[in-house]
């Protein structure tokens, strides 16, 4: 099979869409944005290091948004319900460089629309942070809830690869060129030693494989792909009754600082690896 087939086609489409845009013709990739009522960004766009974060309303995602904004980066912060994202809206009110966008990562049309809206903005770090656990009670053997598995896979596995597919051109046009996914050590098949969280774990193994494939595919375009894990962190993701029982549970600020350090460390040399919060490699 021809490994470059998809790559070449992507490049042709990109050239075609750029040419169409330059000629004042509405290219096919721009059409959905108009249809969905997503206005193009006002021009000109100031050059600035930019990160796009999914699930940025709370927990790790919000902390990422806050910290990258502090660094002086432009932050495109997406979440399912911006109307309820008080902390994020407050952050955006303080900084013109924080742009809040509505996005549910299972909505592929919306992903395409956003990609079209930001088509002229290079994105240095595409940060797939949004994730769901699926609820421990839905993934107990003997009572496995298969509908929940589909949701978990849609958010944790399909979401990141769809985002990467839609935004790879923006990333390629940037300086840093990084596609990062927040995975979990729970997705390490070799490390699991107690049976639990079938769906969540499986979705993380699945996305790890997708991202390794992506790393191999986009490497020669200079795009770096990485997986990071925060460690067990005290966010809404882990129910309070479990949080108390986990020794050495980490604070979001610490977990995010560690992940940001690891994101900075990703290069074409270590593309396609899975970095633990302490900088070590998580085995598959």
């Amino acid at each position: 099979m021809d490994k470059d087939q998809g790559l070449e086609l992507g490049r042709r489409e990109f050239i075609a869409s750029v040419a169409g845009f330059a000629a004042g013709v509405v290219a096919s990739s721009a059409a959905p944005a108009a249809a969905a009522g997503l206005d193009p960004l006002p021009a000109p766009i100031e050059k600035k290091t930019t990160v796009l974060i999914t699930g940025a309303n709370r927990g790790l995602g919000f902390e990422f948004a806050r910290r990258y904004a502090e660094r002086g980066w432009r932050v495109i912060a997406t979440c399912r319900r911006p109307s309820g994202a008080d902390a994020l809206n407050e952050l955006a009110a303080q900084s013109a460089d924080v742009l809040v966008e509505q996005l549910d990562v299972v909505d592929h049309q919306r992903i395409d629309d956003l990609a079209a809206r930001y088509r002229n903005m290079p994105i240095d770090v595409l940060l797939n942070n949004a994730g769901i656990g699926g609820g421990a009670e839905n993934q107990l053997f003997g009572r496995l809830n298969y509908d929940v598995y589909r949701q978990v896979m849609d958010v944790n596995a399909s979401g990141p690869i769809k985002m990467a597919e839609a935004f790879s051109k923006h990333v390629k046009a940037s300086d840093l060129k990084k596609i990062i996914t927040v995975s979990s050590s729970q997705g390490s098949i070799s490390k699991v030693n107690l049976p639990m969280l079938y769906w969540y774990r499986s979705s993380k193994s699945a996305v790890n494989m997708l991202m390794v494939n992506l790393a191999l595919q986009v490497r020669r375009r200079g795009i770096i792909v990485g997986l990071v894990t925060p460690g067990a962190t005290a966010t809404d993701f882990i129910a309070p009754r479990f949080r108390k029982a986990i020794p050495n549970i980490r604070e979001p600020a610490v977990a995010v600082a560690d992940m940001m350090r690891n994101i900075d460390r990703f290069t074409l040399e270590n593309t396609g690896t899975f970095l633990n919060y302490d900088g070590g490699i998580v085995p598959w």
């Binding site: 597919e165 098949i189 193994s205 699945a206 494989m209 191999l216």
Partner: protein
């Protein structure tokens, strides 16, 4: 340190209790071991048994004198399977099953409720087609279909038939995986969905292995290697192994599986494939 380890034990106990709490029935103790006798005829349950590896599994297990429950989506069109079944009328039973049909899985589990199953063999699988999983042209409804067949079905079948496996002599749950599902082994970008579905099922089965080990049930993945079946149509024959060899190798690895090696992913030559 003491405080930490006490808390660590507490959380481990909590999680184990939570994870295992859904299993009914007592843990098998050593002195509960049943004597199955010398006349015992083991049973294998095979999905996707109408062609390729599945059909060859039926042939080889029937030739060994095993009972075979052979399932396929359209038994009426499975002529080769029917031919084997008519040669081994006393051993081979054909059942209709599309592995994405959870109701049908539950129906068959009910139908065979009193039949011990020594080897539950999740063989059915689809690739999803190369053209549907190219970056820039990904078809996500194909991903869902690939997951339904390759990942969800083995889990659902294992869940529904666990009691049958526990009641058997050999107590094995086997899934035909693929070295394409080895994240560590991926060196070229291809088959995003297929590979991801295999990595996902490997994780599910590793979890299952941990879950059922203390019931004496062993769980493993086996890899046939590139084989001369319809699945690999288009590849040069010289790159492909004969179906007979692929299946006899997998059966040797299934025979060799114990609770000590449960949760492993066996290459056809008996070595372990890294995750």
């Amino acid at each position: 340190m003491t405080v930490l380890s006490t808390r660590a034990r507490a959380v481990a106990g909590l999680l184990i209790g939570y994870a295992l709490g859904s299993l009914t029935g007592p843990v098998l103790a050593a002195d509960d071991t049943v004597d199955f006798g010398a006349d015992y005829v083991p049973t294998v349950f095979i999905t996707g048994a109408n062609r390729g590896l599945g059909l060859e599994f039926v042939k080889q297990y029937a030739d060994r004198g095993w009972n075979v429950i052979a399932t396929s989506r359209r038994p009426e069109a499975a002529e080769q399977l029917q031919a084997i079944a008519s040669r081994h009328k006393d051993l081979v039973t054909i059942e209709q099953l599309d592995v994405t049909d959870n109701d049908r899985i539950a129906f068959l589990a009910e139908k065979y409720t009193d039949t011990p199953i020594d080897v539950l063999l999740n063989n059915a699988g689809i690739s999803g087609g190369n053209a549907n999983q190219l970056l820039g042209k990904m078809k996500f409804d194909v991903f869902e279909e690939v997951l339904r067949v390759n990942t969800i079905a083995p889990m659902k079948i294992s869940e529904e038939f666990l009691e049958n496996v526990k009641a058997s002599r050999d107590k094995k749950i086997i899934t035909v995986s693929s070295s394409e599902g080895s994240i560590a082994g991926a060196t070229m970008p291809r088959l995003y969905f297929y590979r991801s579905s295999k990595a996902a099922v490997n994780m599910l089965m590793k979890n299952l292995a941990l879950q059922v080990k203390r019931r004496g049930v062993s769980v493993a993945m086996v890899n046939p290697g590139p084989t001369d079946t319809d699945f690999m149509a288009g590849l040069p024959k010289k790159m492909l192994r004969p179906t007979e060899d692929a299946v006899s190798d997998m059966i040797r690895n299934i025979d060799g599986l114990t609770v000590e090696t449960t949760g492993s992913f066996f290459q056809y030559d008996g070595t372990i494939i890294p995750w």
